[in-house]
Amino acid sequence: MTALGSPSVGSGTRPSRAGAAAASLARRPWGLYVAVAFALLLAVAAFAPQALTVHAPTAIDYGAALKPPSFAHWFGTDESGRDLYTRVVWGARESLLIGLGAAAVGVITALILGSIAALGPKPAAVVVDRFVEVMFAFPALLLALLLIAIAGPSAATEIFAVGLGTAPGYARMIRGQILGAKNSGYVEAATALGHSRWRIIRAHILPNALRPLVAVFALSVGQSIVWASSLSFLGLGVAPPSSEWGALLDAGRAYITQAWWLVVVPGLVIVAVALAATTIGRHLQTRLEKGER
């Protein structure tokens, strides 16, 4: 997070208090506030895109084709004169759904695999552990491409491909978390008290091991949106009539020599979303770690 210069405060306060207030303002996590505000804006775009736009996302106007960004068209227009800002806003729902869906698929798969590897009966644990290690040998993008080659490109395949592609990494992390909790003093104490295995797992191990999952999920949403848009960009995800951000970028590539905004703007939006998700995720991570101590 960048440290901003101490911003000026209202003139009514005394100098010493103003100084203290300025110092505390500078210490605030501004990056986080920006990220949360951006996330709220995205939520509005996803639920009620018409609240943020005046044009229709499919309104074609050949007279205004390939116009650079201006007051009338904030992000410029595409080859059919469609307003890019409107398309980006209307694309938010699909892009976020794919990101959230993929993150959910990835984290849930990882949770199942990680729990079995850490808590399951010995043979199952060994097999799952090895399986995760094998899947980890395939880079996430290639695993996703393999799944798409089998199932054919579509939004659903994209969600599962990205989710399953990223799952092995998270599974390893979750397994480590659970093992850490399993070997801790409080579990030993509970065992000594004669609590049953299930009760210990339910009441002690899972709550402690899974608390970081909230942060992992936030980080994963950002990652998933980037991965999913990579697939659309390669023409292997959602197809161009959709205004999913990766698809917008892919469609814009054909006009790269005439209309830079068609590729720069959707990419910038994806980067901003990924950064916001990372900022929120990291913040949650440090808060949770502090809470544990």
């Binding site: 290690e133 080659a149 980037v226």
Partner: protein
Amino acid sequence: MTHTSPSSETVAVSAPAPGSAPIGAEPRRPRRTRRVLLTIGRKVVSAVIVLWGAATVAFFAQLALPGDRATAILNIRAGQAQQRTPAELAQINEQYGLHRPVIVQYFDYLRGLVVGDFGSSYQQYRPVTAIIGEQLGATVTLSLTAIVFAWVLMIVWVTITAGRGPRVGALGSTVDVVAAGLPAYWLGIILLLVFGLGLRWFPIIGGTGVNGLILPALTLAIPLAGFMAQSTRAEFERALEQPFVLSARMRGMGEWGIRLRHVLRHAVIPAITLSGWALGATLSGAVIVESIFSRPGIGSVLVGAVNNQDLPVVVGIVTLVAVVYVVANLLVDIVYTIIDPRLDLS
């Protein structure tokens, strides 16, 4: 981790904790050698198991095409779904050995992999190894160039910005995080717009010479540099606090001398252990970069094969990258085991 003055040349470059070697390490030599060999043996066995698992996943992925496989292959070739005559199917079954039991096909596949046979393409009527072989050189060149670029960028950036007070440090690590998070497809497009279309320093598409290599390699190198810089920076700042830095300062060594000759050696260790991962990341990133810059290579072959559902080619390339990744990690691990003095203690 303890750090002593890196006086012993070779060890200090890559060993993580030279300070913890026990007194009287000399008489223990034979035991250490045995232990090192045992550890390496265990790692090799475990890598072989992972490779076998990867091959198994790859084999079953090819079975996962919906419907009858021979029909699927014919439909993939024709680009349309239709009913096939038994005669057509019999020919395909014969050619790909699909009429035999799955378990026989599986062992055949494994035997093929060991001798370097990845099967034949559904679409191009050629062995997968020939298709990969033609394109591999371009991708490996790209991947290795990107890793070299990443190291140069990372070392320069970290050496300049690490441990320079809160402002510069914050700027440094923010740049690391942002660079690591940049999606390759977008970064590539920006580089293309600025240096290819705007400044016209580099060819826009399909440059085959050295000039055509720079932008694609940078596209892979910048996120990689950001990633490696995060761990190097943490280690760099830790090393700057060590007594050997103080002692070097007392000997009158300049700030740059200390950073370059002493601190950097400790700081790059985590990044070296990421080498195997970096190779895998650049090889899979090549898929996107080759598509942006219209470069030949296994990445563009892979995208084409995924589009056509040409599974033997897809599986061949994916398996190859997995093998490279596993073997590179194994090598890093082995080197690490050999030079890690802590094995004396365990």
